[in-house]
Symmetry: C2
Subunit: 300 residues, 2 copies
């Protein structure tokens, strides 16, 4: 097309003369929530090992938040999409490229980084811990897997004539070896006629850098939601697994105990049995299952 605009420029001329610097330009980072589920060693040979949900954090060696723990992440470069930047970071941190990854939310508060204006696109990735062990040849210094806990410990609802205010306080705990990090996150949902606002703020955070406690809490909520109606849990499993192991992953993420019979009924269509069994367990061996590729519900 050779049509011209008000300045008499064709599209080619316009694009060639376009000056991006006339608009504010800012930094964009991707921050990764990399989750896995690990098994604790068990002393009793008969008992099954306890599982826990883990999150990868990096210890900061420089200001700001020096010595505190932060989500792995980095700046998006001009030549890569934000998804590509996230994959690149993932590869750098875990040395695995092909794992489940999804965008969570983009955090854009003005003062969220004391250095400069930084907008952060957060992503969640899920890894099977076994494949991580093999591939993670190069250990990133000052990186550690923290056991994650997130509990709703206060809920307050106020009903007004035309709406309501719902306030929830979550306690987030992250622990690893001698490290104990914690934070309190407050979410407030205000509903009035024609006005609904949801805010999420950090009430208190110790040892967790930037606004990352908030991002972590958001990610856990998303994970808990999605595990209920999608197949994402299988990204945390090896190819073959017992139904009890699968149930433990659900329990660890949802932070509740589930009834065996009901759980099995619920995930029945998502798995296919193999002809293999576990051995040497000190009790009845269990059948190994794998994901059923014929299962399908929704695209997202």
């Amino acid at each position: 097309m050779s049509e011209t605009n008000k300045q008499g420029l064709t599209e080619e001329q316009f694009l060639a003369s376009y000056d991006a610097s006339q608009y504010d330009r800012l930094s964009v980072t991707v921050d990764m929530l990399i989750f896995t589920v690990t098994e604790e060693e068990e002393k009793n040979y008969r008992r099954l090992p306890e599982k826990s949900l883990r999150l990868l954090l990096i210890r900061r060696s420089n200001h700001p938040y020096k010595h505190q723990w932060a989500l792995p992440g980095g700046f998006v470069q001009l030549g890569e999409s934000i998804d590509e930047a996230a994959r690149r970071k993932l590869k750098e941190e875990t040395n695995i490229g092909d794992i489940y990854m999804e965008q969570l939310y983009t955090w854009g508060d003005v003062a969220r980084d004391p250095r400069t204006r930084v907008i952060c696109a957060s992503y969640m990735a899920l890894v099977d811990h076994a494949s991580l062990q093999i591939e993670a040849s190069r250990q990133v210094a000052d990186a550690a897997w923290f056991t994650v806990g997130c509990k709703l410990y206060q809920e307050q609802k106020t009903v007004t004539p035309t709406g309501y205010i719902l306030q929830q306080l979550f306690h987030l705990t992250l622990s690893q070896a001698d490290q104990q990090l914690a934070a309190t996150i407050k979410t407030v949902k205000k509903v009035e006629t024609k006005v609904t606002t949801v805010t999420r703020e950090i009430v208190e955070s110790s040892g967790i850098a930037f606004d990352h406690a908030k991002i972590i809490e958001y990610g856990i909520q998303r994970l808990r939601n999605k595990i209920e109606y999608t197949d994402i849990a299988f990204n945390l499993m090896p190819e073959r697994f017992t139904l009890t192991k699968l149930q433990q992953v659900y329990e660890v993420i949802l932070d509740t105990e589930l009834l065996k019979a009901n759980f099995r009924r619920k995930i029945a269509d998502m798995v296919v049995e193999t002809d293999e069994y576990t051995r040497d367990a000190g009790h009845r061996p269990s059948k190994l299952f794998k994901f059923n590729p014929k299962w399908m519900k929704i695209i997202e």
Copy 2:
């Protein structure tokens, strides 16, 4: 704290000397999906008017995509959060500040804007059409409300030994007066052991600028999902409404017909009856309801 880093700088000194320009800086925009539901005039005085879902679009007057229609939006400035930027845009376009708004997704492909590298945070806003009529004193030139349709017209599933590929084709139509815009969006979900990827691409787009067809399709899916399990639909309603009007809003968004009795049972707890009735309808008058602030399920 006066602790110093490797360069011997305290936190204050570090922040004072921090040079943001060492990292790539890019432009970030907010693009708004502003939805409303309007009623078509009906000739038969007895019949209820037809409803339709509408989306606000702006006609571009400059390159690139000159004369095509785009989502209202603009650049995020250094001094405002991305949420604030979205609210500002909303106010500029609809002249209403206090309406429902939520962040959708952030689009970061390298070449999504031919001018320069632009990352786009998309937001969805819902407005009751009645309050819009009153407040929209200043009409934005070249802005128009388009009737939106989005239909899944092809679905293909291929099962592989270890996973599956699900491909869906959606047809998006936007129409207003003499304008007819359309696009085809392809979403592909590939599930293999340990690797799940979801991609969304525009197969064909006529009259819709940039990658906005994809953003619109994403927003409609989100709206359809959320209307099923949250109270967002009430943001599209006046304070008092009949249950049939509410049902029509659900039908228009979900693009299906619902059975009256079942719909009423489903939303029973979300509404409270008033002692008012409609009048002069040519048939049995209906009770007016309002939102029940005591209803509550989830925060998000």
